[in-house]
């Protein structure tokens, strides 16, 4: 074998290798990686899920129930430099001091700059169970556990003296989970009905499409609010939670079903479906193994972009008192405390929930938008 032949052989081999490794999903991943906004969105979501959904117990300094005597205390903040200008690498919080406003006869808690409590990491505190079954006393950060006066409320407390930051993390668990869970239900209904409608056509198609048209005749938010109000208030919180997630899916599946129907309608005419049919594959097999997977890239994008809307609807529903109710902690029920002018004037820190919600929604939108571009890797 001559030198030249050897080289071409190697080159060919390399080419083949490259071609083998470039599967559709590899291309998608490759394109996705290059989109910085989308990656940032994905990373932020990963942080949200780790901090809120999985390990809220560890990251929150207190449990969601612990009530302190500090009612609606303002945020203690984090400081590195004290009043005299002394700098310490270890951040600290100031203590809280009870004051009575003589004009309004209201107790308020003001920051007392004479008392300083340094912050420690991996402190021993309240015993909590991570994900409900791994017991631990270790929290990511907190004040000296041996000092009973030391407290850390970096985002203030609510009307029962509970630490707002901890509650926002626990609330994120429910809100983020509702978003994810209702999207699963939404996909289940939308994809299966859309695929059936597109594959069978005829009367089935007409009925399903009429239902989606009927759903789109309703304005979404008011319909969802009305359905939320129809959930009996006497139900236990877990049941209400499942009802809300299912309602979210029921209100919204129409649009997805229409899109899947369109894709299946086109896919039905493809030769691989004909091939499968001639092998005697059942309808169920053709739909679930051939047609639905072909719509997946489309469906994943729709689902990702749908989640923020789901989170927001739940927040709105609970905020207006029609969805989840305390003691369930979600971002919506947390905002309920801030639904009047008095609360906003005297305890504006209760609105700290808002930036968390906005950040979660923004992350989903960034990720979804990047996925939309990446799912079509052959386009420029």
């Amino acid at each position: 074998m001559s030198e030249a032949e050897k080289t071409t052989g190697i080159v060919q081999e390399e080419n083949e290798k490259e071609q083998i490794s470039q599967s559709y999903w590899a291309l998608v991943w490759w394109k996705f990686k290059k989109n910085r906004t989308a990656v940032v969105g994905g990373v932020m979501l990963a942080v949200f899920y780790i901090v809120c959904v999985f390990f809220a117990e560890f990251f929150a300094p207190y449990s969601k129930k612990l009530e302190s005597e500090f009612i609606e205390a303002h945020p203690t903040g984090l400081h590195w430099r004290d009043e005299e200008g002394n700098f310490s690498l270890r951040p600290f919080v100031y203590g809280l001091e009870k004051k009575v406003d003589t004009a309004t006869r209201k107790r308020t808690f003001e920051i007392d700059t004479t008392k300083k409590y340094p912050i420690y990491f991996f402190v021993k505190g309240e015993e909590v169970k991570i994900l409900g079954f791994i017991p631990t006393r270790i929290h990511l950060f907190g004040t000296d556990p041996d000092d009973p006066d030391a407290r850390i409320f970096i985002m203030g407390t609510d009307k029962l003296g509970r630490d707002l930051f901890s509650r926002i993390l626990y609330g994120g668990r429910i809100s983020m989970f509702i978003g994810l869970f209702s999207v699963v239900v939404f996909l289940g209904i939308g994809v299966s009905l859309g695929a059936i409608s597109g594959y069978y056509g005829g009367a089935t198609d007409v009925v399903i499409m009429r239902i989606t048209e009927f759903l789109s005749a309703f304005p979404q938010e008011p319909l969802f609010l009305a359905l939320g109000a129809a959930v009996p208030i006497t139900w236990p919180s877990a049941q209400v939670f499942f009802m809300v997630t299912i309602l979210l899916a029921i209100v919204q599946w129409g649009g997805l079903a229409r899109q899947v129907r369109g894709l299946v309608l086109a896919g039905r005419e493809e030769q691989y479906v004909l091939a499968a049919q001639s092998f005697g594959a059942s309808d169920r097999r053709i739909i679930s193994k051939h047609l639905i997977p072909a719509t997946m890239s489309h469906v994943i994008v729709i689902a990702t972009l749908k989640i923020p809307g789901m989170i927001l609807l739940e927040t709105a529903l609970s905020y207006f008192g029609l969805g989840l109710v305390p003691p369930t902690v979600s971002w919506g029920t947390l905002l309920q405390d801030a639904n009047n002018i008095r609360a906003i004037r005297f305890a504006p820190h209760l609105l700290f929930t808002v930036p968390f919600i906005l950040l979660a929604i923004l992350s989903y939108n960034m990720l979804g938008d990047g996925l939309r571009d990446a799912m079509d890797p052959y386009s420029k």
Partner: protein, 328 residues
């Protein structure tokens, strides 16, 4: 055209009947609604006039009748303009809505006006100066704007106004005008309050509309007739506004009727509650919370009606604006 319209309207009416029936079921679904409470209250009083009232309700709303009959009574009264009684306010729903519905529509119109006034120029600019710095800024802002929910924005605005600026943004009228009869001064006062909620409601819509306008105009600008117009030596401004924008705006007219206006009317409900405006929103939420069923049902059907009327109007408007469209 006429046969299309007749068919379109006929279809809308059927839809309205089905939707109103489902609304009725949703609203009557939960146990312990206001009417049951009211009747229990009257029964507890037990005197002659209370029993007369119970009988009156029973007959008027067909309470001991099957669901279909109840719906039929409600629907036939609805057409006559009698929407039932709000048990919470002890007033006819029609009276309460008469004050609030026009204000809701005014707010929605103002929001729509803001949306278009902001989105069309920005969208046109973005398309004409594609990939310029201005386009990129507009794209980023609209990208962020789509994600901002109006009711959370309303909360933030409330916070800034109350805590930082010590301003009053709640309501649509200053105190001295709340009960005053309509006058020029009151209209002026309304306008001074209206822009805040209108702007809040316009954020999401504006962001989306910029994207649509930009995309459409980019498509249109690439077409031969634009080149022909330029070749005839027309001024750039004439080419863009008279030729390109006129074409590119058609999809916006469709969504104005089917999505924008009805969507804003429905979406503003949440903003209206946060800012406690004297509009339909707070009435609706309150009615849902207290199970004041005739009130809630009426508002829901009104919103659906706006959506259906909007889509019919959108079709007509499109046929009028774009002579190429044949409605067959």
């Amino acid at each position: 055209m006429l046969s299309f319209l007749v068919r379109r309207i006929f279809y809308a009416i059927i839809m309205l009947v089905v939707v109103s029936f489902v609304s009725f079921i949703i609203i009557t679904l939960p146990p312990g609604d206001f009417m049951t409470q009211k009747i229990a209250e009257l029964q507890a009083r037990g005197d002659k006039s209370a029993e007369l009232r119970i009988d009156e309700y029973r007959e008027r709303y067909g309470l001991d009748q099957p669901l279909m009959t109840q719906y039929w009574l409600w629907a036939s009264n609805f057409i006559k303009g009698d929407f039932g009684l709000s048990f919470e306010y002890d007033q006819p729903v029609a009276t309460l809505l008469k004050q609030r519905f026009p204000l809701s529509v005014t707010l929605a119109l103002a929001t729509t006006a803001f949306t278009w006034a902001l989105a069309i120029p920005i969208g046109v600019f973005s398309a004409v100066k594609q990939y310029s710095l201005g386009d990129q800024i507009a794209t980023t802002i609209s990208f962020l704007g789509i994600g901002i929910p109006p009711f959370l924005l309303a909360l933030v605005v409330l916070y800034v106004a109350v805590v930082k600026l010590d301003q009053d943004v709640v309501g649509l009228f200053s105190r001295e005008f709340v009960d005053a009869s309509w006058s020029l001064a009151k209209v002026w006062d309304l306008l001074k309050h209206l822009w805040v909620p209108a702007l809040i409601g316009a954020i999401t819509g504006t962001a989306g509309t910029i994207r649509i306008m930009r995309g459409n105009l980019l498509d249109t600008l690439g077409q031969p007739f634009i080149e022909a117009a330029r070749a005839r030596g027309l001024k750039n401004r004439t080419v863009i506004w008279r030729h390109a924008v006129r074409m590119a705006i058609n999809p916006l007219i469709v969504i104005l009727g089917t999505e924008t206006f009805p969507g804003i009317l429905a979406g503003n409900i949440l903003v209206e509650v946060v800012l406690s405006l004297p509009t339909m929103g707070p009435l609706y939420i309150e009615a849902l919370l207290t199970q004041d069923m005739y009130m809630a049902g009426t508002v829901l059907v009104f919103l659906v009606m706006m959506l259906l009327i909007g889509s019919v109007l959108a079709d007509i408007a499109l046929a009028w604006v774009d002579p190429r469209i044949r409605l067959e």
